[in-house]
Amino acid sequence: MPPPPSALRITRPTPTTISFTVSTRAPLETISARVLHYLSLALRVVIASAILFLLWTKWELLYPSVEGGGVPKWLVSSWPGKIATLMAKGVMTRYLVPLAGGVLWLCARRGYTEESLLVLRGLGIQTTSSSSTYLSTNSTRFIPTTSIQDIFIHEAFKMFEVRFYLAIVVEGEQDVVVVFPSLLPSLTILEEVWRGARSCLYEPKT
């Protein structure tokens, strides 16, 4: 497949720091986009907690706990509690558990990929790849300036096509470190990042 449409965001808090973020998500610039984003987050939390509650109810039905434990009385008698009890009674475990698992996974999924490169002059480079779910943390890697030998753009075969990639040669390592490894953005983005990273990483020659 060709590169997914992705947007590049550059932030430059200080003259010696520059951060490039490539994301498949449209940037949250307008208020409505922001509101939608937080609404969807809230919805995910609500759905996920409902599913967890349902599973808890089912557990209590199967293995009733001793007096005082289990689901609080007030919750069982409230309307969500009643619906949960009805559903827990109506659906068999073998269907309920995988279904609930699937919905939980959908709720936790991030839905977009974001990868970034942070360049700090005199310190080094940090690459970040967003994790696929909200539950796990992003994977980051820091490469100190002293061990960076080169940054280059090259081409390689990936599946049924040839794609450009930006790579960092690290001293003493067999393989190069590919920046934006899962997105592999288009050449125009890569060139901009490459120029920016080189100009920031190395002192301009005077």
Partner: protein, 500 residues
């Protein structure tokens, strides 16, 4: 007019060989003429991905399953997605396939026609018609060449063979011989000339009866290279001429047979087996000898005998395939491809050398003027002009062509891309084969349509070109005069092409 050209072949460096160096030299010279050339081959061990060679020649080593002797498994369609991607990102206009045993090349030509590109095929080898493998290869060749714009062969014998095998119109087959880089195959210079220890006279001229004559054989030791003939001839030559030594370079499955022959006849001190030599070392081996022996059983061109002659060696070779076309008679002695005749021819050459009747000293200069890659590139470029319609039909094919001699041929001798025209061409391939080929072409077209949707063109990044060289003007080349008037007009077209 400059083109973006993709050379497609299974065989390329780092593997040594004639086809490989042909592709490299031709590509380099085409780049010098202002074209953009890429090479598409399969991945070799330790050589994968995208590489650049000298002169900005870009090589795609496509990861693919290798079947036999560096030939990939013929899968007809599986190469298409990646091929299309490369073609689009490099904006290729002409696909030039090499070697009839390369399934990559056949597939590429089929897909290129489906994508609406001009195709050229270069045949480097001769094939028989009788055995099962040849029949199969010939059928496959017929399939691919049913719809190709032009075919190039390396010798007239090769052209005859290819025309018969693939049922081609002889007019769409050109002969462009291989060439050698004569600078890499110089004879020993005067100061480093091997001089006889007695009177300091150079050894190459007038050998005395007891001076040793060295016979060089450089070939891969395969059946088709005539290794069996060599094995039979060496003991007899050694028995007849006591002051003759052999140097054999190269490796292959027959190497063990050669060694057994040496042991049986106790010839280890008179025959040196060097094993495999790299192409750049070939010259150093050649200049150690006086005679080059080439016992091949089939050969389309035989670049190695040109290299040997360029090194100042007298050539003894079998009269097979395109070999008789390669060198002028005063450089060679021919033998029939049989033991007795080969021994006789070698003896004749040894005698002639001892009598000093051979002017080997001037071979290098003569070969240098006969063969040059620049010339090959120029002639190949003319083929590209012809198939792209830059040259008119009568100019490219000669004025003798009647009108409408090929039903499927469109404007200016250019093959039409319409699917129905292509199917017509394939349908004539045979009762069953024709239908099968049509089916393949239709499926290929459907895959193409699917790929256009699945991986749209505008989402594929175009690459940055290596800085191009300015196109050469025709008038600057010295060989132009020989080609005649038709050439001049093409030059005019070309000038218009890049000035306006």
């Amino acid at each position: 007019m400059t083109y973006n050209i993709a050379m497609v072949c299974d065989f390329f460096f780092p593997q040594p060989g004639g086809v490989e160096s042909h592709i490299y030299q031709l590509s380099t010279k085409l780049i010098d003429r202002g074209h953009k050339v890429i090479v598409i081959t399969h991945a070799y061990e330790g050589r994968t991905g995208v590489r650049y060679l000298t002169n900005g020649l870009k090589v795609y080593h496509v990861p693919f399953f290798v079947l036999y002797r560096e030939t990939t498994f013929p899968t007809v369609f599986s190469f298409f997605p990646i091929f299309r991607n490369i073609i689009i990102r490099e904006s290729v206009e002409i696909v030039h396939g090499h070697a009839s045993l390369s399934s990559f090349c056949h597939e590429a030509i089929l897909h290129a026609r489906t994508m609406g590109l001009r195709t050229v095929f270069t045949d480097h080898s001769l094939f028989g018609f009788a055995d099962a493998a040849s029949i199969l290869t010939n059928k496959l060749l017929k399939f691919t060449l049913s719809d190709v714009d032009h075919v190039i062969c390396v010798s007239h014998t090769c052209k005859e063979n290819t025309v018969l095998r693939a049922s081609l119109d002889p007019l769409m087959v050109s002969v462009i011989p291989n060439a050698v880089v004569a600078e890499n195959f110089r004879p020993l210079a005067h100061q480093e000339h091997v001089t006889s220890p007695v009177d300091g006279r150079p050894l190459h001229h007038s050998l005395r009866p007891h001076d040793t004559i060295t016979i060089v054989v450089i070939s891969r030791l395969f059946y088709n290279k005539g290794t069996d003939l060599l094995i039979a001839a060496i003991p007899r030559i050694c028995a007849a001429h006591p002051y003759v030594r052999f140097i054999i370079a190269g490796s292959g499955p027959k190497a063990i047979d050669v060694e057994q022959m040496l042991e049986r006849n106790v010839l280890q001190d008179r025959v040196d087996m060097l094993g495999p030599v790299r192409h750049e070392e070939v010259r150093d081996v050649m200049v150690r000898g006086h005679i080059y022996l080439h016992p091949s059983l089939t050969e389309a061109f035989g670049t190695v005998i040109v290299e040997a002659a360029s090194c100042g060696l007298y050539v003894v070779c079998t009269r097979v395939g395109g070999i008789p076309e390669v060198l002028p008679p005063h450089m060679t002695t021919f033998a029939k491809p049989e033991e007795d005749d080969l021994v006789a021819a070698t003896s004749k050459a040894i005698a002639a050398l001892r009598q000093g009747r051979l002017e080997t000293g001037r071979f290098h200069e003569q070969v240098r003027t006969m063969y040059s890659w620049t010339d090959v590139a120029e002639r190949t470029e003319r083929v590209y002009d012809g198939i792209s319609g830059v040259l008119s039909e009568e100019e490219f094919y000669g004025s003798s062509t009647g009108e409408g001699w090929s039903a499927a041929r469109g404007r200016a001798g250019v093959q039409s891309f319409a699917l129905i025209d292509r199917l017509k061409r394939y349908y004539g391939c045979g009762i069953w084969a024709g239908k099968l080929f049509c089916l393949c072409v239709v499926i290929d077209y459907l895959i193409f349509v699917f790929l256009e949707l699945w991986a749209p063109r505008d989402r594929i990044d175009a690459v940055r070109d290596w800085p191009r060289k300015p196109p050469l003007r025709e008038s600057s080349s010295a060989t132009n005069a020989a080609i005649g008037l038709g050439r001049k007009r093409s030059a005019r077209y070309r000038d218009q092409g890049w000035e306006g």
